[in-house]
Symmetry: C2
Subunit: 449 residues, 2 copies
């Protein structure tokens, strides 16, 4: 997709928005409610796929996209031509820049049902229009990271590479590579993710490389000529046993690795390992890449596999391609300036009104609950912020419209990855099982008033 | 995601690519195989989710992205700094522009297992590097269109709107809106899809609009003030029965519509219809939007619902977020200039070598088979091209590197939507059932030699 340039900065992200946000903005500017201070919260009612923990991802990307959430002449012209909003609203949008504050979970942090992953405070007008963009980014990236973390747990110390770009839309593939890296993957096949976010990239050859050549041997020779014997040769285009024999004959026993992309992997991996050892290639590594997900990875734990390449399942969230997070108005000021907690009342989609402060309670370093203090006002929450034996989960991501740059760019990604590795250590052992379950720790609400 | 500008045109798409494409390119330039003419085919081994037909989408988008597949100084610098390729390959990439030909299924066309959805012919060097981009676009967009078409079938004459942007990564949301529109949806909530592709946009208000106000009545009054009585009021923030009563009291019996986003929809829709009729609002339409998929839509066929809004399920392909298509080398020239059919030999991922020509055989206007003629050479296929009683499925999308502009932009989207509506009429009735099944028509291979 080609986005045109906004008045400054990167391509405008302002129209990555549901029309009703602007319709509401338009109506609120007419009746004066546009200026009411509001608190919106982004949270999940449940974890994707009945998993035991969720992983927040996308935060750093979102901050950058909010920088570019500006309405340039192209965007305004479209809104005018389509009669989406009136002239007064066009004037408002021309000057639009988010000036409020955003607090939230650090990228890489674990989350549970109800966790206030993002809290956006500002006027109704400036906060409502960020709904779609914030949800798009966090729903997608967190779904990928949550699936990727389980694969990372299943892989243990063995390296994992993300290779799923072809099974995701071209731009979300880049975001997926980033989310997987934050959740424990070590590399990606996606070059743009390497350029944009500094993620290590990898890849050697496909089956087409072998088929292009007059023989498998010619293909292997050419690859080694270009990449050296340390490269990884794909040995399953024709017959795997012959492929391995040819690989070692061509490269010698110092061959870096072989890759297997088909067949019954536990059997094939054992056979290939035995054959390699027999040929003296005891240091040659085995990479497997055939339709792996967290369950397939776990089932290979006892097999002589050295690393995994994961495609479709990680970029599609392994059955849960979206995290199902919502962005809800939870508190607003009334005309007298007092804060009012608000929430939808319906039974199946009810939510808890009021601003939240969130803590992870720990017992000897192990997480025991997601403690969420609820308040209609802001001041009361400060008194809960020093809850003993608990780690405060929210940080300031944006203050008066200024993002904290430490969460952005490649440095933000590395920090998120490190944070994730750290907080995953706090999980109780039962959280690491792959079967469907309730969340690993309960969400406990306390009233802060 | 922010993509930097390439040397000309839109942002470069060249790094939306798996590293191994460039590694293979690099090695092929060294050993001379880079210049071998090749035919790559993009096809699916099976339909997503055991469905009865697939819908091709993304073709027009892909043609535009291939225009921007150029390596500018930023892209080259990254590849050099990361030692992805050598200096000779950097020189090649600096001049890179696809000069081959692409034929394929028209966007909106139906497809079945083995259908040659895209056929890319050129040198190995120029064709191999398009693999990731082509698969990313077609796998995503076709998965969405395939799911959307089933929803469109289930909805019958009732209008369908796509509202799932928040549950998809921000850029794929735009592509998803486009794919759903091609497959029969009538509108989208996504403003960028409106600007970029000319798709009708819609939307009025969320629950936050009601919660922002001191009462539901105040919210409804303000919305009607801004949008007129023809607007749609969201009536389920508090109590639906009270919401409907308030809506009609405020707007009068001429209220355009009410939207219901929660509850047991068949029951609620019947109750709301009865209440509206009782209040004299017999022309007020009912829109439902709560977690709908094709099955929920079908189950509402007998309910008094006037239109549907679909979110998560359409943008995530209703359980099948990727179409699982692959891009395989199927034929190449040898040193003597003769064509050689090639294919991977493994049992579980085998494919059929040789260039294909595809036809849909019809009996009295109803599709009976996907007829695929296979040949090692090009000339022989011409003789099959006039197969009697069959519709040829492939068109020229790009000739000598020049895309056919009629497939691009908003006009391309409208043409694809019209084409889809037309060819869906050819499906046998059994193809329209929603249950899991074999494909509605068999794929039949004939040898053209």
């Amino acid at each position: 997709m080609t986005l045109r340039q906004a008045q400054d900065g990167g391509p405008s992200t302002a129209l990555l928005t549901d029309r009703y946000e602007l319709t509401m903005l338009d109506a609120s500017l007419r009746d004066g409610t546009a200026e009411r201070r509001c608190v919106f919260e982004l949270f999940a009612r449940r974890l994707p796929g009945a998993r035991r923990f969720g992983v927040v991802a996308g935060t750093g990307r979102l901050l950058e996209l909010i920088r570019d959430f500006r309405f340039g002449q192209d965007e305004l012209r479209f809104l005018k031509d389509e009669n989406v909003v009136d002239a007064a609203t066009l004037d408002f949008l021309e000057e639009y820049r988010f000036t409020g504050s955003i607090t939230g979970y650090r990228e890489g942090e674990l989350y549970f049902p109800g966790s206030p992953i993002l809290t956006v405070e500002g006027t109704f007008a400036e906060a409502v229009v960020l709904e779609t963009l914030a949800l798009s980014v966090l729903n997608h990236d967190s779904a990928i990271a949550t699936a990727a973390a389980r694969m990372s747990v299943a892989a243990g110390e063995r390296p994992l590479a993300e290779m799923g770009s072809r099974r995701a839309a071209e731009s979300s593939a880049v975001a997926a590579a980033r989310a997987a890296y934050i959740a424990g993957f070590g590399a990606t096949s996606n070059l743009e993710a390497g350029r944009r976010w500094g993620i290590p990239t990898m890849g050697t050859a496909a089956h087409s490389w072998t088929l292009l050549h007059d023989s498998e041997e010619a293909a292997f020779r050419a690859q080694i000529e270009a990449l050296g014997v340390e490269t990884t040769l794909l040995v399953d285009t024709y017959d795997i046993r012959e492929g391995v024999a040819t690989a070692v004959r061509v490269a010698g026993a110092g061959l870096g690795g072989v890759r297997i992309d088909s067949g019954d992997l536990p059997t094939v991996a054992a056979d290939v390992r035995a054959q390699l050892d027999e040929l003296g290639a005891t240091g040659t590594r085995i990479t497997v890449t055939s339709d792996l997900d967290e369950f397939a990875i776990a089932s290979l734990a006892a097999s002589p596999v050295d690393s995994y390449g994961v495609g479709t399942s990680v970029v599609t969230g392994s059955g849960s391609p979206t995290a199902g997070m919502v962005y809800k108005l939870v508190a607003r000021q009334d005309d007298a300036g007092g804060w009012v907690a608000v929430a939808k009342a319906s039974t199946d989609k009810g939510s808890k009104g009021g601003r939240k402060a969130a803590f992870r309670t720990l017992d000897d370093g192990t997480a025991t609950s997601e403690l969420i203090a609820v308040s209609d006002g802001f001041e009361q929450l400060q008194t809960v912020a020093s809850h003993p034996g608990a780690r405060a989960l929210q940080v300031t991501l944006m203050a008066e419209g200024e993002p904290d740059a430490s969460y952005e760019g490649a440095a933000g990604v590395e920090a998120a990855r490190a944070h994730h590795a750290r907080v995953r250590e706090e999980l109780p052992v039962r959280a690491l099982a792959l079967s469907r379950s309730d969340p690993a720790i309960p969400t406990v609400y306390v009233d802060a008033e």
